[in-house]
Symmetry: C2
Subunit: 348 residues, 2 copies
């Protein structure tokens, strides 16, 4: 029957003694085809194990029904959850998702964008790398008439849509929460302040302090890498101060964890003496013996919404002019590391 899985509409047309065009129309449920031939075609297609060649379709139509997703690393919970959200939203619409990693290198990012464009994706979703400063490669995507959507980490580029969480609000909420627990000297473990997300978290922290009558203390702000070791080191650093903090709002769950470990090591009781909040709601935060308060960025939702923004754009005729900025509300997950309500009696 089939020689090597290469059945085309042409084969069907020969078998039925009709033209390939008719077969194509029948397969696409073109209304001008008689029910009779349509049934005939479907039957033959099934029998001959025919499969549409999406490559040919794509070449003809100019739409590949593929989208690209570029992230620093695939195997970070936050990113893989976003990818999952995009896939689940776009899959039912017939799209496939192609995944690329930048390893935080701008150079790689540029390259990935180029190969994705070569491959004729219909759009690109991405979180920019930490080292990205230029924006030429983003403009190229728009020049080709494809939509570009940033999620989480973005840069302001005209014409580019974005879906992010309100990092400012997240920083504000977390800090306010610590204040509500009675903390007076709140430190902040910040990420790279050149990245918008970290800067916003920092500014939310500052604003919350001021709004509640606290004077921000620059000594209390430590820039850290997102790692356990970095968190422990940062605690050592602030512990040298005369007036020691009694809380930390950390922009990373990993540094928060490192901080907790170090604080315990030097005999500080949490949350009685010291409260702490992380950021990202990494899976491990809720599994700890002392679950860590953290900000949930709702990555699954973020992915789904990014996908919806994309769908709106491809369906729209004047797509290039659309530029949608979605800002999602973060969710503070209060857990033992900062929840004194359970310890109130013990304190006094």
């Amino acid at each position: 029957m089939k020689e090597n899985g290469k059945v085309t509409i042409y084969d069907i047309s020969k078998k039925l003694n009709i033209s390939a065009a008719t077969v194509s129309r029948a397969l696409n449920n073109n209304p001008k085809i008689s029910k009779k031939t349509r049934d005939l075609v479907f039957a033959a297609a099934k029998e001959m194990n025919y499969k549409q060649n999406r490559l040919a379709q794509a070449l003809k139509s100019g739409k590949s029904k593929n989208v690209g997703i570029i992230v620093p690393y695939i195997n970070r919970n936050f990113f893989s959850s976003i990818i999952r959200g995009i896939e689940e939203e776009l899959g039912p619409h017939g799209y496939h998702v192609i995944i690329c990693q930048t390893h935080e290198q701008m150079e790689t990012e540029v390259e990935q964008i180029n190969t994705l464009l070569n491959t004729q994706v219909d759009g690109i979703f991405m979180s920019i790398s930490k080292s990205t400063t230029k924006t030429d490669h983003f403009k190229k995507v728009l020049d080709e008439g494809k939509s570009l959507i940033f999620f989480d980490r973005k840069l302001d580029v005209p014409g580019v849509s974005s879906v992010v969480i309100d990092d400012f609000k997240a920083g504000y909420l977390a800090t306010e929460h610590l204040i509500s627990q009675g903390c007076k000297n709140i430190a902040h473990f910040a990420g790279d302040l050149n990245l918008e997300i970290y800067k916003n978290r920092y500014e939310g922290y500052i604003k919350a302090l001021k709004d509640h009558g606290f004077q921000p203390n620059p000594d209390y702000v430590v820039t850290t890498l997102s790692s356990v070791e970095s968190g422990a080191a940062a605690v050592s650093k602030i512990w040298e101060l005369n007036e020691k903090p009694d809380a930390i709002f950390s922009a990373s769950d990993y540094t928060a964890l490192g901080a907790i470990q170090e604080l315990k090591r030097i005999g500080i009781r949490i949350p009685e003496d010291f409260c702490i909040s992380g950021f990202s709601n990494e899976p491990f935060t809720k599994y700890m013996e002392m679950p860590i308060t953290s900000v949930d960025q709702t990555p699954l939702r973020m992915g789904k919404i990014a996908a919806q923004v994309f769908l709106e754009q491809v369906d729209s005729p004047q797509k290039l002019t659309i530029e949608k900025k979605v800002v999602l509300a973060p969710e503070l997950m209060v857990r033992n590391s900062s929840d004194r309500s359970l310890h109130k009696l013990a304190i006094h």
Copy 2:
């Protein structure tokens, strides 16, 4: 200059007054092209911002330079790490990876395979869903002359290559380790024994017991879901036995965590009174206050090796006959939850 990013070799050929064929050859560094025209073509291509259309290339050559990866869920650390491994190995060879999820449904798995074949991927990597029993859809892939590679969860299908870890050995190692810590009554929290991986872990556990002179006790084997709650429930169950166990080899890190929480709740000291080992080396296991012993499945390496197997096959002319079975060695990560060496003095 460029109207809408649609520059083709034809545009270049017109501009240079040469044929499109020559342009194509020049771009592909065909040696029969004079250096002069080659340089001219490259210069013009760059100036006109020409981009190869990989779709057209793919249609012509029959190779899309895309591969599909099908997993139950993208945002599981184990799977996303494998995907990362595949991407990093295949990227430099010009391949893109397309990702699909099955949500553990065989029906979805069949569908995903079909759409991937429609889209002309050059090969498919996958971990089968829990509910998969049939193998027709796998045969279809082979019938189309594409290579199919299973990783971790597999079924035996002639012609399909696979990369897995030695789950039997992993079960054996973990159990033997618990025995070496002095445990006498070792329970096993098993996964669905219809899946090869869980059956092998179970059998490794049984074999280790026997090899060390212990009589396996069916009451000590509890089938669990991979969840924290399920782990706690399983502990309650074995705690009803007259002769209570003094160790657990759990086929999942989540059940191991649930077990630890429940054991602590009822006042059991770990590892002094009770040792426990999980499976998968989930990130949280090492971050716990009491880090959990676990089996590392080296997913990154697994992905890279799966990719290498694929590359060998596409390069080979007789690809269909090749069937490679790779079995990787697991790594037992011994941590506090089962390490009595630090507590020896305290015990006696």
